[in-house]
């Protein structure tokens, strides 16, 4: 163990002495974080709203005002009839049509249950889902407001029925009612960036020592192979977790992300992901003769892993074969867990399948890497 400590110390000395390495390690992920956190969001603004008001009651008008005042909707058309609503949707001049039924105001005041209809333009499924969900939230909010003001009967219920052809509206934002994506995407993006860097640098670091010839010098010492390899890879786990901490601090300052509760799980899963990726990095290093080759192979995996992680495109909407590939992607597991965790503070029972999956991936990549390492180094 003491020998391992000395190897890690030596490795850290070398990493921090490398002028190209420091900006790569600490600046790049932070800049990426600042840029990506603004694009990896499902937030949609300026949705075009058409209203088909069949009642013209002040309460109906107030609902429309409230939707527009939210800032997410701009009013495209008012007092449309049904045919015109459909035409607006067809011509893509409206993203959402709100249908207010006749006797809307009267029935609410009488304490009855009233349902407004939301017709969404489902060409862009994501946008439609978001539009329906925003509107649904605002409608629910509106009902609460009216009840508190005592303007409607005590038993009155206002509900929004969504209707979008071919759209499955399971997409509900129960745990993030304000739909503030930055809040939960920032830690996820950070974890992804940090672990990808570990893959790249881990692979290159092992090849580097072989390239400069010192691996042979170490090979004639009594140091065991696993100590040597751990000494080359573990510094990147340490650095990764330090980067995660720095990044979270910056995220808190800039994006005011909440940092209570589920942070321990974030660290645990980031560490497991990094370990799995370091295993893959070692595997890559065995198949590469130069740092450049290692870098290109690692880059190949990085692109695939990030794009197929579910960070930008939901895995559920991928074809089956692609979903099968993501089984081997530790990043996909990390993103899934970060979503789950950051949204509602997951319990251990809920994260257990992901935990097991990541450990399996780590063991799998590690075993393959050790097998090829033995083969290569006799």
């Amino acid at each position: 163990m003491r020998t391992l400590g000395f190897f890690i110390y030596k490795e850290l000395l070398q990493i921090f002495r490398n002028r190209a390495m420091l900006p790569l390690l600490f600046l790049v992920p932070l800049v990426q974080l600042l840029v990506l956190s603004h694009v990896a969001t499902n937030e949609v603004r300026n949705l075009k709203l058409a209203v088909q008001d069949n009642d013209h009651d002040p309460l109906a008008r107030r609902l429309v005002d409230k939707l527009v005042a939210s800032g997410y909707f701009s009013l495209a058309s008012l007092s449309a009839n049904e045919a015109r609503s459909n035409a607006l949707l067809d011509r893509d001049e409206a993203d959402l049509v709100l249908v207010i039924p006749p006797r809307f105001g009267r029935e609410l005041r009488q304490g009855k249950a009233v349902e407004v209809q939301l017709l969404a333009n489902a060409i862009n499924a994501m946008k439609a889902g978001v539009a329906v969900s925003y509107a649904g939230n605002i409608v629910a909010d509106y009902q609460r407001e009216l009840l508190e003001e005592g303007r409607i009967g005590p038993g009155a219920r206002l509900a929004a029925a969504a209707c979008a052809p071919g759209l499955d509206l399971r997409y509900q934002h129960w745990f993030n009612p304000e739909l503030d994506y930055k809040t939960f995407m920032v830690p996820g993006i950070l974890a992804v960036l940090v672990s990808m860097l570990a893959l790249l640098l881990g692979a290159m670091n092992v090849v580097r020592e072989r390239e400069i010839g010192t691996q042979e010098q170490i090979a004639v010492t009594p140091v065991k192979g696993y100590i040597y390899i751990s000494g080359k890879l573990l510094p990147f786990l340490l650095i990764g977790l330090v980067e995660l901490t720095i990044g979270l601090g910056i995220a808190k300052l800039i994006f005011h992300t909440p940092t209570e509760g589920p942070l321990a799980l974030l660290y645990l899963f980031s560490a497991l992901t990094i370990i799995a990726l370091l295993g893959l990095g070692l595997l890559i290093s065995n198949l590469a003769d130069t740092q450049q080759q290692a870098m290109f192979v690692a880059w190949f995996f990085m692109i695939i892993f990030v794009l197929m992680s579910g960070l930008f495109t939901p895995i559920e909407s991928m074809p089956l074969w692609a979903r099968r590939i993501t089984w081997f992607n530790p990043i996909a597991q990390l993103v899934a867990i970060v979503r789950l965790n950051m949204l509602k503070g997951a319990t251990l029972a809920e994260v257990w399948p992901f935990l097991r999956h990541l450990v399996l991936l780590g063991l799998g990549y590690g075993a393959l890497a050790v097998f090829f390492f033995r083969k290569r180094n006799g």
């Binding site: 000395f6 030596k10 000395l13 070398q14 042979e216 010098q217 004639v220 010492t221 009594p222």
Partner: protein
């Protein structure tokens, strides 16, 4: 015997890099290996230092089998590969302490082992190893190879790329290490260094063609040798080679070494040279050195390539 090799064979595909090599190095003995690039010296080193397994034959280092007890061997040997392989981005001091730790020893306790090598480096302790001169790099590498008190030292062309003064210093240090009873196996392309070894082996195409004390090897020189000296002597190589009784003419420093299978009459040769228009020269019988022995041996092995 700290270093023993018996009929070691190493093949890489169709190439037999080391072909049935046997040698012994005793305590306090410097055994030199010389021969052209690709003769198999490094492959032999790599087997004896447990980096690769031999395909055939056996070997023992510090009393342990190179096939099975490699971990024990690695604790007891020092190795300097043919390229500088310390950490160039670590300082002199950090390299030394790192390798001491790797062997589980402390620099302080073993400093007496490396004093004469390391003392000249002391003023540069904080300098990065990559910024040292060739001679200092090689002293640092030797210090790192000695810090754990090895019983056997393997030096693969340690003085390549090092200036003449540093080479001489290096050999003075080797003699002092030898005096402590360490067995030293050293590969060298320099014939003057080969002559300084206690015993010497000449390698060619994977085979150890001959071994013995340098003086013994020289005594076995099979031909007759003469030295030709003149201003720009190399210009007359072809002329000398054209003489029917000259077996070989090769450059040896400023002079040309001329060998023949039967004794030559120097006066006949001088006449031949004067007739060719050379006036200011000397042609005398000469004592062969290691290089002459080596060239003669290569000729005997491969007479068909002597014109090359």
């Amino acid at each position: 015997m700290p270093i023993e090799a018996d009929n070691l064979v190493k093949r890489y595909g169709d190439l037999t890099a080391v072909d049935r090599v046997s040698l012994r190095v005793a305590d306090g003995e410097i055994f030199g290996l010389t021969g052209p690039d690709g003769a198999g010296k490094s492959s032999l080193f790599r087997m004896l230092t447990t980096l690769v397994r031999p395909d055939e034959g056996s070997g023992r280092v510090a009393g342990f089998d190179i096939r099975t007890d490699y971990l024990e061997i690695r604790k007891r040997i020092g190795y300097m590969p043919d390229v500088f392989s310390l950490y160039e981005d670590l300082s002199v001091r950090e390299n030394l302490h790192f390798f001491a730790r790797v062997f589980g020893v402390r620099v302080k306790e073993n400093y007496h082992l490396i004093r004469e090598v390391y003392e000249p480096l002391k003023p540069f302790e904080r300098r990065r190893a990559g910024k040292l001169s060739g001679g200092m790099k090689q002293k640092l590498a030797l210090a790192c190879a000695l810090i754990h008190q090895p019983e056997a030292l393997f030096l693969d062309e340690p003085t390549t790329g090092v200036d003449a003064v540093s080479r001489k210093e290096f050999w003075d240090i080797l003699y002092r290490i030898r005096a402590r009873g360490v067995a030293i196996l050293v590969a060298t392309p320099y014939m003057d260094e080969a002559a300084r070894c206690d015993r010497l082996g000449l390698m060619q195409d994977g085979r150890l063609m001959v071994q013995g004390a340098p003086q013994e090897l020289i005594a076995q020189y099979p031909h007759h040798l003469y030295a030709f000296r003149a201003h720009q002597a190399y210009r007359y190589l072809e002329l000398l080679r054209r003489h029917p009784r000259v077996h070989r003419a090769v450059l040896a420093g400023e002079a040309v070494h001329v060998s023949s299978l039967a004794p030559l009459d120097p006066e006949d040769m001088r006449q031949y040279l004067r007739e060719a228009g050379i006036m200011d020269f000397a042609f005398e019988p000469a004592a062969p050195d290691i290089e002459d022995v080596f060239i003669a041996l290569v000729d005997q092995q491969q007479p068909q390539t002597q014109e090359a």
